[in-house]
């Protein structure tokens, strides 16, 4: 079932409402109501939807000059684990804005502050200048055993000026939003550039971008999480905790709720100005069982991913099936506590999207960041084995591997209309037919790579940090020819493990060698699940692993997972990013026993 932005949950049909339309310039299809594109970049798939198929749709949805025309479809039902409404697979363009901007932010003297800073930067000789005025709001709520252990609300406001002077970047920021502060911050940015000019050996040049003057974008959510009284949140999370604590075998609970809201105004010396807002949230519930006698404890955490949605994600059980997941946690945990420890060795793995998203994040998402590929992060986050000389030739994985980058999925954590370079966002291929074909870029890196336009990946997590190239939503596409289920993938395995939920992760600084654990590990015997295992960690090398991917599940297995805590850069910045993927089958992967690794 597809989520339809802006529509009341109660009115949602289990099918995509409305007809699929087709892009005039390609064989791809588009749902004008939910702005889903299907399939991502493929010729048409015989996948159809209930609705008024056949009507034409000739209006451009944005200023990107893409028009839509007629397509037809057959009926198809999306089902996806605990998502009551499946996130749309694709979204057409950056211009789709379904929310609103906070009026008190709009009441700030955004334009005059920006003009003051831009003018001062120009007077001081800047070839380029941009200004961001941002308000970042966050909330952390943690309940231990049903009672509030941590409660923190925070708001950061500031003004940032970035300049290019004699081909050199300069950046400065200040917390005060006054004309004087705007001017002095611009001066300071120029001073930084001039002071450090002797260290710059490469002239900074930006890829071109059309001017987007006065555009507004706001992500789609129904209930702003910051409009919900704290007491209502505490009551819900406490009720969840007590539901679990009332169950045999659960000794403790740990519930963490994080919410964020970004409101940002951007203006640059080319004339682009954008005003944008988005929210995100991540609730997680962990049940803990303690065996004091044995000195063991075990945990089971919900797999509900972070998402760019509002409070409707938690309330009402309409988006994610919390009732079902919370009801099953005790049983899953009890089985895990008693499960046999895994025998290390090589296994076929069927990996659930709730686990695979993180492997995608680490081994594809970061590896296809252009700044990493050319060494900009070499002393910190690391570089990438997927260097530009291999673009178009590197066999990243098996031929069924199709990975896209986008900043446009509805409810995607990296989704936004325009990036922090003033670039309209989009969707593109990173790995096609198993081959590396693209990178994530900002305007500087797009130019270096010889691209006409940036992929729109510039992002700063705060008004006090400089924009850097950050991760788009990087997603593995499902089987476009068959809606293979997870059960069907499992049925093709004689001896293997089905892995659900993420837990521990680690990967080297060139994104070769990784090791992941999970929440639940099910033994697969002769094509069927045969109870849980514990202490499983899988370890592989990126291209070996993706080369061993024999099959991907169909659209019905596809889930949009993600993280709100991706770290990069110095000073450190934190970004939120989504990764969609189907279940997938990997042959002959090395599995370790974590207890044995600890020498026990």
């Amino acid at each position: 079932m597809l989520d339809i932005p802006g529509k009341n949950a109660a009115t949602r049909s289990p099918y995509i409402a409305g007809a699929l339309k087709r892009f005039a310039d390609s064989a791809r299809y588009y749902c004008p109501e939910c702005v889903m594109i299907w399939p991502p970049n493929d010729p048409a798939v015989p996948l159809t939807f209930r609705g008024d198929a056949g009507s034409s749709y000739g209006t451009p949805v944005t200023d990107c000059n893409r028009y839509f025309c007629t397509a037809v479809s057959e009926e198809h039902t999306f089902q996806s684990s605990l998502f009551r409404t499946l996130p749309p697979l694709q979204l057409g363009s950056a211009g789709v804005s379904t929310g609103t901007i906070d009026t008190d932010f709009l009441a700030l003297p955004l334009r005059s502050l920006a003009d003051a800073a831009l003018e001062r930067a120009r007077e001081l000789g800047a070839e380029h200048a941009d200004v961001r005025i941002e308000r970042i709001t966050g909330q952390l709520l943690r309940l231990r055993d049903g009672a509030v252990a941590t409660m923190q609300d925070s708001t950061t406001i500031g003004l940032a000026v970035r300049v290019i002077v004699e081909g050199t970047w300069g950046f400065a920021s200040h917390l005060e939003l006054t004309p004087t502060s705007a001017v002095t911050t611009a001066q300071r940015a120029v001073e930084v550039a001039r002071t450090l000019r002797p260290l710059n050996a490469e002239r900074v040049e930006l890829a071109g971008e059309p001017v987007h003057a006065g555009v507004v974008w706001a992500g789609g959510h129904e209930i702003d999480p910051f409009s919900v009284p704290l007491s209502e949140k505490v009551a819900l999370l406490s009720e969840w905790s007590h539901r679990l604590l009332a169950t045999d075998g659960i000794d403790h609970t740990d519930v963490i709720f994080r919410a964020g809201r970004e409101t940002k105004f951007y203006a640059d010396s080319d004339g682009t100005s954008t005003t944008q807002q988005r929210v995100r949230m991540h609730p997680s519930v962990t049940a803990i069982a303690v065996d004091q006698a044995a000195g063991l404890f075990e945990t089971m955490r919900t797999c509900a991913p972070p998402t760019a949605r509002g409070w409707e994600y938690l309330a009402g059980n309409t988006v994610w099936d919390w009732d079902s997941e919370l009801a099953q946690l005790p049983e899953w945990l009890a089985e895990k506590v008693k499960a046999p420890s895994v025998a290390p060795g090589r296994y076929d793995l069927v990996i659930d999207p709730t686990n695979l998203w993180l492997t995608i994040h680490e081994s594809i998402g970061h590896a296809t960041e252009y700044d990493r590929a050319i060494g900009y992060e070499a002393a910190y986050a690391g570089s990438s084995f997927a260097t530009p000389d291999k673009l178009g030739t590197l066999h990243y994985g098996s031929p069924i591997m199709h990975v896209t980058g986008d900043r446009t999925y509805p409810h995607g954590l990296a989704t936004i209309g325009y990036d922090d370079d003033g670039v309209a966002t989009s969707q593109w291929d990173l790995v096609r037919d198993g081959t590396l074909v693209g990178y994530q870029t900002d305007r500087v890196f797009a130019r270096r790579l010889g691209l006409e336009r940036s992929a729109g990946c510039a992002y700063a997590d705060s008004p006090h940090h400089v924009p850097i190239q950050r991760m788009a939503n990087v997603s593995l596409q499902p089987d476009s020819t068959s809606d293979t289920s997870t059960a069907e993938l499992i049925s093709g395995v004689q001896r293997g493990i089905y892995i659900v939920g993420d837990r521990s992760w680690s990967i080297d600084m060139q994104r070769y060698n990784f090791q992941f654990t999970g929440q639940r590990f099910y033994r697969i015997e002769n094509g069927a699940l045969a109870g849980q295992l514990r202490d499983v960690a899988y370890q592989s090398t990126t291209t070996d692993f993706w080369g061993a991917m024999e099959a991907v599940g169909g659209p019905s297995t596809w889930v949009l997972g993600g993280a709100i805590n991706c770290g990069k850069a110095q000073p450190g910045q934190v970004a939120a990013v989504s990764h969609g993927c189907p279940s997938a089958l990997f042959r002959d992967i090395n599995v370790l026993n974590a207890r044995e690794e600890a020498g026990e």
Binding site: S173, E176, S231, F385, N513, Q515
Partner: protein, 461 residues
Amino acid sequence: MISPDELTTTALDASKADGCTVVLTDTSEVNLRWANSTMTTNGHSTTRSFSVISVVGDSVGVVSGNGAELDEVRAVVAASEQAARESGPAQDVAPLVEGEADGDFGEPGAATEIGVFARLTGELAATFDGAGESGRGELLYGFADHRVETTWLASSTGLRRRWVQPTGTIEINAKIADNLGRSAWVGAYTADFTDLDFPALVAELRRRLCWSKRQVQLPAGRYETILPPSAVADLMLYMVWSMDGRPAHEGRSAFAVPGKGPGATRLGEQLTGLPLTLSSDPSVPGLQTAPFLVTTASSDSASVFDNGAPVHRVDWLRNGTINALAYPRAAAQEFGAQFTSPAENLILTGGSTARTDELVARTDRGLLLTCLWYIREVDPVSLLLTGLTRDGVYLVESGEVVGQVNNFRFNESPIDLIRRVSEVGATESTLCREWKDWFSRTAMAPLRIPDFNMSSVSQAS
């Protein structure tokens, strides 16, 4: 900007709560980053973090704002009171800390500016130029950061504390341009960059790049390994961050004791016969940190109710024995323990006077690491950590480094490493690689581990 004195006075005057603590931190920061021997990013930021902790009955609300305008300050106070009324009883409730007023409370904050890098800019530019000369062929990568944070803590109890915390770090990574796998790293902590010996750092990098001329491939396995102070710091930090009292008492920590009934912890367990002491101490010269607790979010190791409480030296390990766990005041009362709060530094002592080079000289065959990376917990029961070696694993034979080895993924528990350590060298100030963004004040000793678990080979170079 509103002065700190006016801001804290306005907030406390506006408070209608049963108790109120205001934490204000002004931060001035400059930074400079480079890669491929050219600057990439930089910046100068002026930020303020202003938090109001309101206590209403047994409940607490913490709300933070910008602190740029007095109306906003009053609004934050009201919001924190509202949050306290709505959040229900807090688990860590305790009376707000009482105490004296620091004489310098009314003084303004300290700041830094881009000129702090003046000498470094010249030295770095010269090294960029020199590194590109024929024959050397080096590329330089790295980051320099200088941050000055001034914190004012004011409470409705009359407590007034002020602390200025300077933090400077530099990391330099050098690679050989035609073989990027030949890579070396050095890092240092400095309060103000005046004591930074840049030429010495570059000399150490070049010594290590010379070691990497010969490349040696080794398989996964257990190796005698010398962990230099930087790598030791990353492992010890993770261990100390896991030494919270509550989870240990509740049986959900590697510091719980199996089979001895509820509440039993590993306090008092001797891990090694070597006289290793791991401590945090706000008064250590060169690594000073705030002598009072400052936090705006409660956790198992610190409580917002405890803001302003004196922080003293804590020996987490003393002479090889587990000696302390962290307890906020409420947890200390609940579990019959003493209030124990970690300072923002960590020091490992108890070794010989031998520097890392001397440990190398006493090694027949083993590995010398540079640093560890991407350290993550695999199993909390044993505190098993995984991660990777990075920027130089060197093969030692007959007391000398004879080449650079491929990288490895390791799986080890720091608790178990303490048990197995066979030699401890001299304590020195060091910058850890993995956690330095959060924790840069450490002094560690090099350790010899007879059988470090290199679980698999990493192709990363």
